[in-house]
Protein backbone atom coordinates (compact mmCIF):
# COMPACT_ATOMS: atom_id res chain seq x y z
CA UNK A 1 0.00 0.00 0.00
CA UNK A 2 1.13 3.50 -0.86
CA UNK A 3 2.65 5.12 2.30
CA UNK A 4 0.72 8.34 1.65
CA UNK A 5 -2.56 6.41 1.60
CA UNK A 6 -1.47 4.60 4.72
CA UNK A 7 -0.99 7.90 6.58
CA UNK A 8 -4.23 9.33 5.20
CA UNK A 9 -6.21 6.28 6.21
CA UNK A 10 -4.74 6.40 9.71
CA UNK A 11 -5.58 10.10 10.11
CA UNK A 12 -9.12 9.60 8.79
CA UNK A 13 -9.56 6.68 11.14
CA UNK A 14 -8.43 8.65 14.18
CA UNK A 15 -10.69 11.59 13.38
CA UNK A 16 -13.66 9.31 12.78
CA UNK A 17 -12.96 7.26 15.91
CA UNK A 18 -12.96 10.43 18.01
CA UNK A 19 -16.51 11.27 16.90
CA UNK A 20 -17.82 7.72 17.24
CA UNK A 21 -16.28 7.48 20.70
CA UNK A 22 -18.21 10.53 21.94
CA UNK A 23 -21.52 8.97 20.91
CA UNK A 24 -20.63 5.44 22.00
CA UNK A 25 -19.36 6.46 25.44
CA UNK A 26 -22.67 8.18 26.19
CA UNK A 27 -24.55 5.09 25.09
CA UNK A 28 -22.44 2.78 27.21
CA UNK A 29 -22.61 5.07 30.26
CA UNK A 30 -26.41 5.17 30.11
CA UNK A 31 -26.56 1.41 29.70
CA UNK A 32 -24.14 0.79 32.54
CA UNK A 33 -26.18 2.81 35.01
CA UNK A 34 -29.76 2.33 33.82
CA UNK A 35 -29.55 -1.05 32.01
CA UNK A 36 -31.44 0.53 29.14
CA UNK A 37 -30.15 0.62 25.58
CA UNK A 38 -31.18 4.04 24.38
CA UNK A 39 -32.05 3.67 20.69
CA UNK A 40 -32.92 7.38 20.58
CA UNK A 41 -29.22 8.09 21.12
CA UNK A 42 -28.73 8.25 17.35
CA UNK A 43 -31.36 10.98 17.17
CA UNK A 44 -29.53 13.00 19.85
CA UNK A 45 -26.45 12.83 17.66
CA UNK A 46 -28.31 13.97 14.55
CA UNK A 47 -30.22 16.76 16.30
CA UNK A 48 -27.01 17.97 17.95
CA UNK A 49 -25.48 18.16 14.48
CA UNK A 50 -28.45 20.01 12.98
CA UNK A 51 -28.61 22.51 15.84
CA UNK A 52 -24.87 23.19 15.71
CA UNK A 53 -24.89 23.64 11.93
CA UNK A 54 -27.84 26.07 12.09
CA UNK A 55 -26.23 28.06 14.89
CA UNK A 56 -22.87 28.32 13.11
CA UNK A 57 -24.57 29.29 9.85
CA UNK A 58 -26.62 31.99 11.55
CA UNK A 59 -23.45 33.34 13.20
CA UNK A 60 -21.75 33.71 9.84
CA UNK A 61 -24.94 35.23 8.35
CA UNK A 62 -25.03 37.83 11.11
CA UNK A 63 -21.37 38.79 10.42
CA UNK A 64 -20.18 37.99 13.92
CA UNK A 65 -16.61 36.82 14.33
CA UNK A 66 -16.36 33.30 12.85
CA UNK A 67 -14.35 32.28 15.91
CA UNK A 68 -17.67 32.35 17.77
CA UNK A 69 -18.55 29.17 15.91
CA UNK A 70 -16.44 27.10 18.33
CA UNK A 71 -18.39 28.06 21.45
CA UNK A 72 -21.52 27.78 19.28
CA UNK A 73 -20.82 24.09 18.66
CA UNK A 74 -20.50 23.52 22.38
CA UNK A 75 -23.59 25.56 23.28
CA UNK A 76 -25.71 23.77 20.69
CA UNK A 77 -24.61 20.37 21.98
CA UNK A 78 -25.24 21.25 25.63
CA UNK A 79 -28.62 22.80 24.89
CA UNK A 80 -29.88 19.97 22.73
CA UNK A 81 -28.53 17.24 24.98
CA UNK A 82 -29.82 18.73 28.20
CA UNK A 83 -33.27 19.56 26.82
CA UNK A 84 -33.87 16.24 25.04
CA UNK A 85 -32.28 14.21 27.80
CA UNK A 86 -34.38 15.79 30.53
CA UNK A 87 -37.65 15.55 28.62
CA UNK A 88 -37.19 11.93 27.58
CA UNK A 89 -35.97 10.74 30.97
CA UNK A 90 -38.65 12.58 32.92
CA UNK A 91 -41.67 11.90 30.78
CA UNK A 92 -40.85 8.59 29.18
CA UNK A 93 -38.18 6.43 30.72
CA UNK A 94 -39.33 7.10 34.27
CA UNK A 95 -42.51 5.12 33.57
CA UNK A 96 -40.78 2.02 32.27
CA UNK A 97 -37.91 1.29 34.66
CA UNK A 98 -39.89 -1.60 36.14
CA UNK A 99 -41.01 -3.01 32.79
CA UNK A 100 -39.60 -5.83 30.71
CA UNK A 101 -36.39 -5.31 28.78
CA UNK A 102 -38.17 -5.73 25.44
CA UNK A 103 -40.62 -2.97 26.30
CA UNK A 104 -37.84 -0.60 27.37
CA UNK A 105 -36.13 -1.21 24.05
CA UNK A 106 -39.40 -0.54 22.21
CA UNK A 107 -40.05 2.68 24.11
CA UNK A 108 -36.67 4.18 23.21
CA UNK A 109 -37.26 2.96 19.66
CA UNK A 110 -40.57 4.83 19.60
CA UNK A 111 -38.79 7.95 20.87
CA UNK A 112 -36.31 7.51 18.04
CA UNK A 113 -39.11 7.35 15.44
CA UNK A 114 -40.69 10.50 16.86
CA UNK A 115 -37.39 12.42 16.90
CA UNK A 116 -36.68 11.36 13.31
CA UNK A 117 -39.76 13.27 12.17
CA UNK A 118 -38.92 16.19 14.47
CA UNK A 119 -35.73 16.56 12.42
CA UNK A 120 -37.70 16.38 9.20
CA UNK A 121 -40.17 19.02 10.40
CA UNK A 122 -37.59 21.44 11.75
CA UNK A 123 -34.75 21.08 9.25
CA UNK A 124 -36.39 19.53 6.19
CA UNK A 125 -34.73 17.07 3.87
CA UNK A 126 -31.75 19.09 2.61
CA UNK A 127 -28.33 18.37 4.12
CA UNK A 128 -26.75 20.91 6.50
CA UNK A 129 -23.07 21.60 6.94
CA UNK A 130 -21.12 24.41 8.61
CA UNK A 131 -17.50 24.43 7.46
CA UNK A 132 -16.31 27.60 9.26
CA UNK A 133 -14.49 25.82 12.11
CA UNK A 134 -12.52 23.62 9.71
CA UNK A 135 -11.48 26.60 7.58
CA UNK A 136 -10.43 28.68 10.59
CA UNK A 137 -8.06 26.09 12.01
CA UNK A 138 -6.26 25.57 8.69
CA UNK A 139 -4.10 22.56 7.98
CA UNK A 140 -1.10 20.90 9.55
CA UNK A 141 1.53 18.78 7.84
CA UNK A 142 1.58 15.19 9.00
CA UNK A 143 4.61 13.42 7.51
CA UNK A 144 4.51 15.79 4.56
CA UNK A 145 0.76 15.46 3.99
CA UNK A 146 -1.41 18.51 4.70
CA UNK A 147 -4.42 17.53 6.77
CA UNK A 148 -7.00 19.78 8.39
CA UNK A 149 -6.21 20.59 11.99
CA UNK A 150 -9.84 20.47 13.06
CA UNK A 151 -10.11 16.73 12.43
CA UNK A 152 -6.66 15.60 13.43
CA UNK A 153 -5.96 17.83 16.43
CA UNK A 154 -9.18 19.28 17.83
CA UNK A 155 -11.41 16.17 17.60
CA UNK A 156 -8.95 13.69 19.15
CA UNK A 157 -8.03 16.20 21.86
CA UNK A 158 -11.68 16.63 22.78
CA UNK A 159 -12.25 12.86 22.75
CA UNK A 160 -9.26 12.26 25.05
CA UNK A 161 -10.38 15.08 27.33
CA UNK A 162 -13.85 13.56 27.57
CA UNK A 163 -12.36 10.15 28.35
CA UNK A 164 -10.02 11.49 31.05
CA UNK A 165 -12.74 13.79 32.38
CA UNK A 166 -15.19 10.93 32.69
CA UNK A 167 -12.60 8.76 34.44
CA UNK A 168 -11.83 11.53 36.87
CA UNK A 169 -15.51 12.31 37.43
CA UNK A 170 -16.50 8.68 38.04
CA UNK A 171 -13.56 7.85 40.32
CA UNK A 172 -12.63 11.04 42.12
CA UNK A 173 -15.82 13.02 42.71
CA UNK A 174 -18.67 12.20 45.06
CA UNK A 175 -21.34 12.42 42.33
CA UNK A 176 -19.27 10.13 40.14
CA UNK A 177 -18.81 7.62 42.92
CA UNK A 178 -22.54 7.65 43.56
CA UNK A 179 -23.14 6.86 39.89
CA UNK A 180 -20.60 4.04 40.03
CA UNK A 181 -22.30 2.67 43.13
CA UNK A 182 -25.67 2.53 41.36
CA UNK A 183 -23.98 0.81 38.40
CA UNK A 184 -22.39 -1.83 40.60
CA UNK A 185 -25.37 -2.68 42.77
CA UNK A 186 -28.53 -0.67 42.48
CA UNK A 187 -30.38 -2.23 45.43
CA UNK A 188 -27.57 -1.77 47.92
CA UNK A 189 -26.99 1.78 46.71
CA UNK A 190 -30.65 2.64 47.26
CA UNK A 191 -30.53 1.00 50.68
CA UNK A 192 -27.59 3.27 51.53
CA UNK A 193 -29.77 6.28 50.85
CA UNK A 194 -28.71 7.11 47.32
CA UNK A 195 -31.46 8.67 45.23
CA UNK A 196 -31.31 6.36 42.21
CA UNK A 197 -33.83 8.43 40.26
CA UNK A 198 -31.63 11.50 40.47
CA UNK A 199 -28.64 9.43 39.41
CA UNK A 200 -30.61 8.16 36.41
CA UNK A 201 -31.56 11.68 35.38
CA UNK A 202 -28.02 13.00 35.69
CA UNK A 203 -26.53 10.05 33.83
CA UNK A 204 -29.05 10.25 31.02
CA UNK A 205 -28.44 13.96 30.54
CA UNK A 206 -24.66 13.47 30.50
CA UNK A 207 -25.04 10.72 27.93
CA UNK A 208 -27.39 12.81 25.80
CA UNK A 209 -25.02 15.80 25.89
CA UNK A 210 -22.13 13.58 24.78
CA UNK A 211 -24.16 12.27 21.83
CA UNK A 212 -25.21 15.79 20.83
CA UNK A 213 -21.58 16.90 21.18
CA UNK A 214 -20.58 14.14 18.78
CA UNK A 215 -23.13 15.44 16.29
CA UNK A 216 -22.15 19.07 16.78
CA UNK A 217 -18.47 18.30 16.23
CA UNK A 218 -19.33 16.23 13.17
CA UNK A 219 -21.34 19.03 11.55
CA UNK A 220 -18.30 20.96 10.18
CA UNK A 221 -17.02 17.92 8.27
CA UNK A 222 -20.13 15.84 7.61
CA UNK A 223 -23.33 16.70 5.79
CA UNK A 224 -25.99 16.36 8.48
CA UNK A 225 -29.05 14.82 6.87
CA UNK A 226 -31.95 12.48 7.49
CA UNK A 227 -30.96 8.89 8.18
CA UNK A 228 -27.73 9.87 9.91
CA UNK A 229 -29.17 9.01 13.30
CA UNK A 230 -29.97 5.43 12.30
CA UNK A 231 -26.46 4.88 10.95
CA UNK A 232 -24.89 6.31 14.09
CA UNK A 233 -26.93 4.33 16.60
CA UNK A 234 -26.06 1.09 14.84
CA UNK A 235 -22.39 2.01 14.50
CA UNK A 236 -22.03 3.14 18.09
CA UNK A 237 -23.83 0.02 19.19
CA UNK A 238 -21.24 -1.97 17.25
CA UNK A 239 -18.50 -0.09 19.14
CA UNK A 240 -20.18 -0.58 22.50
CA UNK A 241 -20.89 -4.26 21.86
CA UNK A 242 -17.30 -4.85 20.73
CA UNK A 243 -15.99 -3.25 23.91
CA UNK A 244 -18.59 -4.83 26.17
CA UNK A 245 -21.71 -2.97 27.35
CA UNK A 246 -20.95 -0.50 30.13
CA UNK A 247 -17.19 -0.23 29.51
CA UNK A 248 -16.06 3.40 29.26
CA UNK A 249 -12.34 2.94 28.53
CA UNK A 250 -13.07 -0.10 26.39
CA UNK A 251 -15.35 2.02 24.21
CA UNK A 252 -12.38 4.29 23.37
CA UNK A 253 -10.25 1.37 22.19
CA UNK A 254 -13.12 -0.23 20.29
CA UNK A 255 -13.92 3.10 18.62
CA UNK A 256 -10.31 3.38 17.51
CA UNK A 257 -10.32 -0.21 16.24
CA UNK A 258 -13.54 0.24 14.29
CA UNK A 259 -12.66 3.77 13.09
CA UNK A 260 -9.31 2.62 11.71
CA UNK A 261 -10.83 -0.53 10.25
CA UNK A 262 -13.42 1.50 8.42
CA UNK A 263 -11.04 4.14 7.07
CA UNK A 264 -8.60 1.52 5.79
CA UNK A 265 -11.52 -0.20 4.11
CA UNK A 266 -12.46 3.10 2.43
CA UNK A 267 -9.05 3.17 0.75
CA UNK A 268 -8.52 -0.54 0.16
CA UNK A 269 -11.96 -2.04 -0.56
CA UNK A 270 -14.35 0.91 -0.95
CA UNK A 271 -17.38 -1.32 -1.67
CA UNK A 272 -17.08 -2.90 1.75
CA UNK A 273 -16.51 0.13 3.97
CA UNK A 274 -19.96 -0.12 5.57
CA UNK A 275 -19.40 -3.79 6.29
CA UNK A 276 -16.07 -3.56 8.12
CA UNK A 277 -17.34 -2.24 11.49
CA UNK A 278 -19.89 -5.05 11.67
CA UNK A 279 -17.37 -7.65 10.55
CA UNK A 280 -15.09 -6.54 13.38
CA UNK A 281 -17.99 -6.70 15.81
CA UNK A 282 -19.14 -10.15 14.66
CA UNK A 283 -15.58 -11.49 14.81
CA UNK A 284 -15.09 -10.20 18.34
CA UNK A 285 -18.48 -11.44 19.52
CA UNK A 286 -17.91 -14.91 18.04
CA UNK A 287 -14.93 -15.42 20.32
CA UNK A 288 -15.91 -13.19 23.23
CA UNK A 289 -19.72 -12.99 23.40
CA UNK A 290 -19.54 -10.43 26.24
CA UNK A 291 -17.29 -8.08 24.30
CA UNK A 292 -13.55 -7.47 24.62
CA UNK A 293 -13.39 -5.90 28.07
CA UNK A 294 -16.52 -7.02 29.91
CA UNK A 295 -16.56 -9.65 32.62
CA UNK A 296 -19.14 -12.39 32.12
CA UNK A 297 -22.13 -12.05 34.44
CA UNK A 298 -23.06 -14.90 36.72
CA UNK A 299 -26.12 -16.85 35.75
CA UNK A 300 -29.08 -16.15 37.95
CA UNK A 301 -31.66 -18.82 38.45
Amino acid sequence: MDPILLVLATLDGIAYAALVFLVAVGLTLIFGVMRILNVAHGAFYAIGGYAAASLVLSISDADFSPWLSFPALLVAAMGVGAALGLVIERFLLRHIYAKEEVLQLLVTFAAFMILEDVQRLVWGVQPYSATDPVRLLGTVDVMGIPYNAYQIILLPVIAVMVLLGLRWFLRRTLSGKVITAVTEDRETAIAMGIDARKVFTVTFVIGAVLAALGGALASPTTAIQLGLGAEMIVLSFAVVATAGLGQVEGAALAALLIGLGRSFAVYLVPELDVLVPYMIMVLVLLFRPQGLFAVAEKRRI
Binding site: L103, V234, A241
Partner: protein
Protein backbone atom coordinates in the same frame (compact mmCIF):
# COMPACT_ATOMS: atom_id res chain seq x y z
CA UNK B 1 -73.85 -9.71 22.18
CA UNK B 2 -73.27 -12.89 20.18
CA UNK B 3 -71.94 -10.63 17.45
CA UNK B 4 -68.66 -10.06 19.25
CA UNK B 5 -67.85 -13.74 19.15
CA UNK B 6 -68.30 -13.91 15.41
CA UNK B 7 -66.47 -10.65 14.78
CA UNK B 8 -63.22 -12.29 13.55
CA UNK B 9 -65.11 -14.55 11.15
CA UNK B 10 -67.13 -11.60 9.82
CA UNK B 11 -63.96 -9.58 9.27
CA UNK B 12 -62.21 -12.41 7.43
CA UNK B 13 -65.26 -12.78 5.21
CA UNK B 14 -65.35 -9.02 4.59
CA UNK B 15 -61.69 -9.02 3.57
CA UNK B 16 -62.35 -11.90 1.19
CA UNK B 17 -65.45 -10.40 -0.43
CA UNK B 18 -64.81 -6.65 -0.40
CA UNK B 19 -62.31 -6.61 -3.29
CA UNK B 20 -65.07 -7.99 -5.55
CA UNK B 21 -67.09 -4.87 -4.86
CA UNK B 22 -64.21 -2.38 -4.59
CA UNK B 23 -61.54 -3.56 -7.05
CA UNK B 24 -58.84 -1.00 -6.16
CA UNK B 25 -58.83 -2.31 -2.61
CA UNK B 26 -57.13 -5.50 -3.86
CA UNK B 27 -53.67 -3.98 -4.07
CA UNK B 28 -53.89 -2.39 -0.62
CA UNK B 29 -55.17 -5.58 0.96
CA UNK B 30 -52.50 -7.66 -0.77
CA UNK B 31 -49.84 -5.35 0.69
CA UNK B 32 -51.47 -5.67 4.11
CA UNK B 33 -51.46 -9.47 3.87
CA UNK B 34 -47.82 -9.53 2.76
CA UNK B 35 -46.81 -7.31 5.67
CA UNK B 36 -49.00 -9.39 7.95
CA UNK B 37 -46.93 -12.46 7.05
CA UNK B 38 -43.72 -10.64 8.01
CA UNK B 39 -45.36 -9.39 11.20
CA UNK B 40 -46.35 -12.96 12.01
CA UNK B 41 -42.64 -13.75 11.83
CA UNK B 42 -41.91 -10.99 14.36
CA UNK B 43 -44.72 -12.31 16.58
CA UNK B 44 -43.15 -15.79 16.64
CA UNK B 45 -39.97 -14.27 18.07
CA UNK B 46 -41.95 -12.10 20.51
CA UNK B 47 -43.25 -15.36 21.97
CA UNK B 48 -39.68 -15.97 23.12
CA UNK B 49 -39.53 -12.40 24.44
CA UNK B 50 -37.16 -11.34 21.68
CA UNK B 51 -37.67 -8.45 19.32
CA UNK B 52 -35.89 -8.17 16.00
CA UNK B 53 -35.24 -4.69 14.63
CA UNK B 54 -34.01 -6.12 11.34
CA UNK B 55 -36.67 -8.44 9.98
CA UNK B 56 -37.07 -6.37 6.84
CA UNK B 57 -33.83 -7.95 5.63
CA UNK B 58 -35.64 -11.25 4.99
CA UNK B 59 -38.48 -9.33 3.37
CA UNK B 60 -35.97 -7.63 1.05
CA UNK B 61 -33.89 -10.76 0.44
CA UNK B 62 -36.79 -12.74 -0.95
CA UNK B 63 -38.17 -9.75 -2.87
CA UNK B 64 -34.79 -9.39 -4.59
CA UNK B 65 -34.62 -13.13 -5.22
CA UNK B 66 -37.94 -12.79 -7.08
CA UNK B 67 -36.53 -9.86 -9.07
CA UNK B 68 -33.38 -11.79 -9.99
CA UNK B 69 -35.42 -14.84 -10.97
CA UNK B 70 -37.70 -12.78 -13.21
CA UNK B 71 -34.65 -11.17 -14.81
CA UNK B 72 -32.91 -14.51 -15.36
CA UNK B 73 -35.94 -16.52 -16.49
CA UNK B 74 -38.57 -14.25 -17.99
CA UNK B 75 -41.99 -15.78 -17.49
CA UNK B 76 -41.14 -17.79 -14.37
CA UNK B 77 -44.15 -19.00 -12.43
CA UNK B 78 -45.49 -17.36 -9.28
CA UNK B 79 -45.19 -20.65 -7.41
CA UNK B 80 -41.49 -20.83 -8.30
CA UNK B 81 -40.96 -17.23 -7.13
CA UNK B 82 -42.69 -17.87 -3.81
CA UNK B 83 -40.77 -21.09 -3.20
CA UNK B 84 -37.46 -19.50 -4.18
CA UNK B 85 -38.16 -16.56 -1.87
CA UNK B 86 -38.85 -18.91 1.04
CA UNK B 87 -35.70 -20.92 0.37
CA UNK B 88 -33.64 -17.76 0.04
CA UNK B 89 -34.91 -16.09 3.21
CA UNK B 90 -34.85 -19.38 5.11
CA UNK B 91 -31.19 -19.94 4.22
CA UNK B 92 -30.27 -16.38 5.14
CA UNK B 93 -32.25 -16.82 8.37
CA UNK B 94 -30.36 -20.01 9.21
CA UNK B 95 -26.95 -18.39 8.65
CA UNK B 96 -27.72 -15.19 10.55
CA UNK B 97 -29.75 -17.15 13.10
CA UNK B 98 -26.76 -19.34 13.99
CA UNK B 99 -25.10 -16.17 15.19
CA UNK B 100 -27.92 -14.13 16.73
CA UNK B 101 -29.61 -16.93 18.73
CA UNK B 102 -26.62 -16.83 21.07
CA UNK B 103 -27.90 -13.47 22.28
CA UNK B 104 -30.99 -12.14 24.01
CA UNK B 105 -32.89 -8.86 24.33
CA UNK B 106 -30.72 -5.85 23.50
CA UNK B 107 -28.05 -7.78 21.63
CA UNK B 108 -30.61 -9.85 19.76
CA UNK B 109 -32.53 -6.77 18.64
CA UNK B 110 -29.51 -4.67 17.74
CA UNK B 111 -27.56 -7.44 15.99
CA UNK B 112 -30.56 -8.01 13.75
CA UNK B 113 -30.62 -4.29 13.05
CA UNK B 114 -26.90 -4.35 12.23
CA UNK B 115 -27.28 -7.23 9.77
CA UNK B 116 -30.22 -5.55 8.08
CA UNK B 117 -28.26 -2.30 7.72
CA UNK B 118 -25.47 -4.28 6.05
CA UNK B 119 -27.89 -5.85 3.58
CA UNK B 120 -29.47 -2.46 2.90
CA UNK B 121 -26.07 -0.88 2.28
CA UNK B 122 -25.06 -3.71 -0.05
CA UNK B 123 -28.29 -3.51 -2.05
CA UNK B 124 -27.80 0.22 -2.44
CA UNK B 125 -24.08 0.14 -3.24
CA UNK B 126 -23.88 -2.70 -5.74
CA UNK B 127 -25.84 -0.79 -8.34
CA UNK B 128 -24.38 -2.72 -11.26
CA UNK B 129 -26.11 -5.83 -9.91
CA UNK B 130 -29.07 -4.55 -7.91
CA UNK B 131 -29.77 -1.24 -9.65
CA UNK B 132 -28.85 0.74 -6.54
CA UNK B 133 -31.53 2.91 -5.00
CA UNK B 134 -33.58 2.77 -8.23
CA UNK B 135 -34.08 -0.92 -7.59
CA UNK B 136 -35.10 -3.54 -10.15
CA UNK B 137 -38.28 -4.07 -12.09
CA UNK B 138 -40.13 -7.34 -11.53
CA UNK B 139 -42.13 -8.58 -14.49
CA UNK B 140 -45.46 -10.30 -14.11
CA UNK B 141 -44.94 -14.04 -13.58
CA UNK B 142 -47.27 -16.68 -14.96
CA UNK B 143 -49.87 -18.02 -12.57
CA UNK B 144 -49.76 -21.83 -12.43
CA UNK B 145 -48.67 -21.78 -16.04
CA UNK B 146 -51.37 -19.32 -17.13
CA UNK B 147 -50.47 -15.94 -18.56
CA UNK B 148 -53.03 -13.67 -16.93
CA UNK B 149 -53.93 -10.08 -17.79
CA UNK B 150 -53.09 -7.47 -15.17
CA UNK B 151 -56.39 -7.25 -13.31
CA UNK B 152 -57.04 -10.96 -13.22
CA UNK B 153 -53.46 -11.53 -12.07
CA UNK B 154 -53.99 -9.06 -9.24
CA UNK B 155 -57.15 -10.88 -8.22
CA UNK B 156 -55.37 -14.21 -8.35
CA UNK B 157 -52.46 -12.82 -6.31
CA UNK B 158 -54.82 -11.40 -3.72
CA UNK B 159 -56.65 -14.66 -3.15
CA UNK B 160 -53.36 -16.58 -3.17
CA UNK B 161 -52.05 -14.24 -0.48
CA UNK B 162 -55.25 -14.65 1.51
CA UNK B 163 -54.91 -18.42 1.28
CA UNK B 164 -51.24 -18.30 2.23
CA UNK B 165 -52.00 -15.98 5.16
CA UNK B 166 -54.68 -18.42 6.36
CA UNK B 167 -52.30 -21.35 6.01
CA UNK B 168 -49.54 -19.46 7.81
CA UNK B 169 -51.92 -18.55 10.66
CA UNK B 170 -52.97 -22.15 11.07
CA UNK B 171 -49.39 -23.43 10.91
CA UNK B 172 -47.98 -20.87 13.35
CA UNK B 173 -50.90 -21.41 15.70
CA UNK B 174 -50.22 -25.16 15.70
CA UNK B 175 -46.50 -24.51 16.07
CA UNK B 176 -47.00 -22.29 19.11
CA UNK B 177 -49.26 -24.92 20.72
CA UNK B 178 -46.73 -27.69 20.09
CA UNK B 179 -44.06 -28.69 22.63
CA UNK B 180 -41.61 -26.72 20.51
CA UNK B 181 -43.78 -23.60 20.79
CA UNK B 182 -44.19 -24.08 24.54
CA UNK B 183 -40.42 -24.37 24.86
CA UNK B 184 -40.19 -21.11 22.92
CA UNK B 185 -42.41 -19.35 25.48
CA UNK B 186 -40.23 -20.82 28.19
CA UNK B 187 -37.22 -18.94 26.81
CA UNK B 188 -39.08 -15.81 27.81
CA UNK B 189 -40.22 -16.95 31.23
CA UNK B 190 -37.23 -18.93 32.45
CA UNK B 191 -34.51 -20.00 30.09
CA UNK B 192 -32.33 -21.62 32.74
CA UNK B 193 -35.07 -24.01 33.79
CA UNK B 194 -35.62 -24.89 30.15
CA UNK B 195 -31.97 -25.85 29.86
CA UNK B 196 -32.23 -27.95 33.04
CA UNK B 197 -34.99 -29.91 31.31
CA UNK B 198 -32.39 -30.89 28.76
CA UNK B 199 -33.76 -28.68 26.01
CA UNK B 200 -31.36 -26.44 24.10
CA UNK B 201 -32.77 -22.91 24.13
CA UNK B 202 -30.53 -21.89 21.23
CA UNK B 203 -31.74 -24.73 19.08
CA UNK B 204 -35.41 -23.89 19.80
CA UNK B 205 -34.79 -20.23 19.08
CA UNK B 206 -32.97 -21.08 15.85
CA UNK B 207 -35.93 -23.10 14.59
CA UNK B 208 -38.26 -20.22 15.46
CA UNK B 209 -35.88 -17.76 13.84
CA UNK B 210 -35.77 -19.67 10.55
CA UNK B 211 -39.57 -20.01 10.62
CA UNK B 212 -39.95 -16.27 11.17
CA UNK B 213 -37.44 -15.53 8.38
CA UNK B 214 -39.39 -17.76 5.98
CA UNK B 215 -42.65 -16.01 6.90
CA UNK B 216 -41.08 -12.60 6.31
CA UNK B 217 -39.65 -13.92 3.05
CA UNK B 218 -43.05 -15.13 1.85
CA UNK B 219 -44.39 -11.62 2.45
CA UNK B 220 -41.44 -10.13 0.58
CA UNK B 221 -42.04 -12.24 -2.55
CA UNK B 222 -45.71 -11.22 -2.59
CA UNK B 223 -44.78 -7.54 -2.26
CA UNK B 224 -42.23 -7.80 -5.09
CA UNK B 225 -44.77 -9.29 -7.50
CA UNK B 226 -47.56 -6.99 -6.32
CA UNK B 227 -45.58 -3.79 -6.79
CA UNK B 228 -43.63 -4.86 -9.86
CA UNK B 229 -40.49 -3.21 -8.50
CA UNK B 230 -38.06 -3.85 -5.66
CA UNK B 231 -35.92 -1.17 -3.99
CA UNK B 232 -33.45 -1.27 -1.08
CA UNK B 233 -36.12 0.52 0.99
CA UNK B 234 -37.77 -2.88 1.45
CA UNK B 235 -34.90 -3.73 3.80
CA UNK B 236 -34.49 -0.35 5.50
CA UNK B 237 -34.76 -0.11 9.29
CA UNK B 238 -37.96 1.94 8.98
CA UNK B 239 -39.61 -1.10 7.42
CA UNK B 240 -38.36 -3.34 10.23
CA UNK B 241 -39.68 -0.81 12.72
CA UNK B 242 -43.02 -0.92 10.95
CA UNK B 243 -43.20 -4.71 11.42
CA UNK B 244 -42.42 -4.41 15.12
CA UNK B 245 -44.96 -1.62 15.39
CA UNK B 246 -47.72 -3.67 13.75
CA UNK B 247 -46.86 -6.69 15.90
CA UNK B 248 -47.31 -4.64 19.06
CA UNK B 249 -50.40 -2.93 17.65
CA UNK B 250 -52.02 -6.27 16.80
CA UNK B 251 -50.93 -7.88 20.02
CA UNK B 252 -48.86 -11.01 20.24
CA UNK B 253 -51.43 -13.06 22.12
CA UNK B 254 -52.95 -14.61 18.99
CA UNK B 255 -51.75 -15.19 15.43
CA UNK B 256 -54.70 -13.29 13.97
CA UNK B 257 -53.42 -10.16 15.76
CA UNK B 258 -50.66 -9.84 13.18
CA UNK B 259 -53.14 -9.62 10.32
CA UNK B 260 -55.68 -7.49 12.19
CA UNK B 261 -52.85 -5.08 12.96
CA UNK B 262 -51.55 -5.11 9.39
CA UNK B 263 -55.00 -4.49 7.87
CA UNK B 264 -55.77 -1.58 10.17
CA UNK B 265 -52.28 -0.15 9.73
CA UNK B 266 -52.34 -0.39 5.95
CA UNK B 267 -55.86 1.04 5.57
CA UNK B 268 -55.09 3.97 7.88
CA UNK B 269 -51.80 4.56 6.11
CA UNK B 270 -53.54 4.47 2.73
CA UNK B 271 -55.83 7.31 3.74
CA UNK B 272 -53.74 9.24 6.25
CA UNK B 273 -50.15 8.95 5.02
CA UNK B 274 -50.72 11.38 2.16
CA UNK B 275 -52.06 13.98 4.59
CA UNK B 276 -49.37 13.43 7.17
CA UNK B 277 -46.35 12.26 5.17
CA UNK B 278 -43.94 14.36 7.22
CA UNK B 279 -45.15 13.26 10.60
CA UNK B 280 -46.03 9.64 9.83
CA UNK B 281 -43.12 8.21 11.83
CA UNK B 282 -44.00 10.55 14.66
CA UNK B 283 -47.60 9.37 14.77
CA UNK B 284 -46.41 5.76 14.76
CA UNK B 285 -44.03 6.53 17.60
CA UNK B 286 -46.73 8.10 19.74
CA UNK B 287 -49.23 5.31 19.07
CA UNK B 288 -46.53 2.75 19.89
CA UNK B 289 -45.86 4.51 23.20
CA UNK B 290 -49.57 4.65 23.94
CA UNK B 291 -50.01 0.93 23.32
CA UNK B 292 -46.97 -0.05 25.39
CA UNK B 293 -47.90 2.15 28.32
CA UNK B 294 -51.67 1.70 28.36
CA UNK B 295 -52.84 -1.29 26.31
CA UNK B 296 -49.93 -3.65 26.12
CA UNK B 297 -51.95 -6.56 24.72
CA UNK B 298 -52.83 -4.71 21.53
CA UNK B 299 -55.90 -5.30 19.38
CA UNK B 300 -56.08 -8.95 20.43
CA UNK B 301 -56.28 -7.82 24.06
CA UNK B 302 -58.96 -5.24 23.29
CA UNK B 303 -61.00 -7.85 21.45
CA UNK B 304 -60.71 -10.30 24.33
CA UNK B 305 -61.82 -7.65 26.80
CA UNK B 306 -64.76 -6.87 24.55
CA UNK B 307 -65.69 -10.53 24.23
CA UNK B 308 -65.43 -11.01 27.99
CA UNK B 309 -67.58 -7.93 28.56
CA UNK B 310 -70.18 -9.32 26.16
CA UNK B 311 -70.34 -12.69 27.82
CA UNK B 312 -70.38 -11.07 31.25
CA UNK B 313 -67.30 -12.76 32.63
CA UNK B 314 -64.10 -11.05 33.62
CA UNK B 315 -61.32 -11.32 31.11
CA UNK B 316 -58.32 -13.34 32.12
CA UNK B 317 -55.41 -10.97 32.08
CA UNK B 318 -52.49 -12.10 30.05
CA UNK B 319 -49.15 -10.37 29.98
CA UNK B 320 -47.79 -9.13 26.68
CA UNK B 321 -46.12 -11.97 24.87
Amino acid sequence: MRLVRYLPAVLVLAVAVLPLAVPWLKIVLTVALAKGLAVLGVVVLLRAGQVSFGHAMFFAASAYSAAFLMRGFAGADLVVLLLAGMVCSGTLGAVIGLFVVRYRYIFFGMLNLAFSMVLYALLEKMFHITGGSDGMAVGRPTYLGLELARTSFETALFYTSLGLAGAACWFVHRFLCSPLGEALSAIRTNETRLEYLGISARWILLIAYVLSAVLAGLGGSIIAVNQGVVTPDLGYWIRSGEFVFIAILGGAGHVLGAFAGALIYELVRFYAAAMAANVWQMILGFVLLGIILFASRGIVGLYRDLAALASGSRSHREPLR
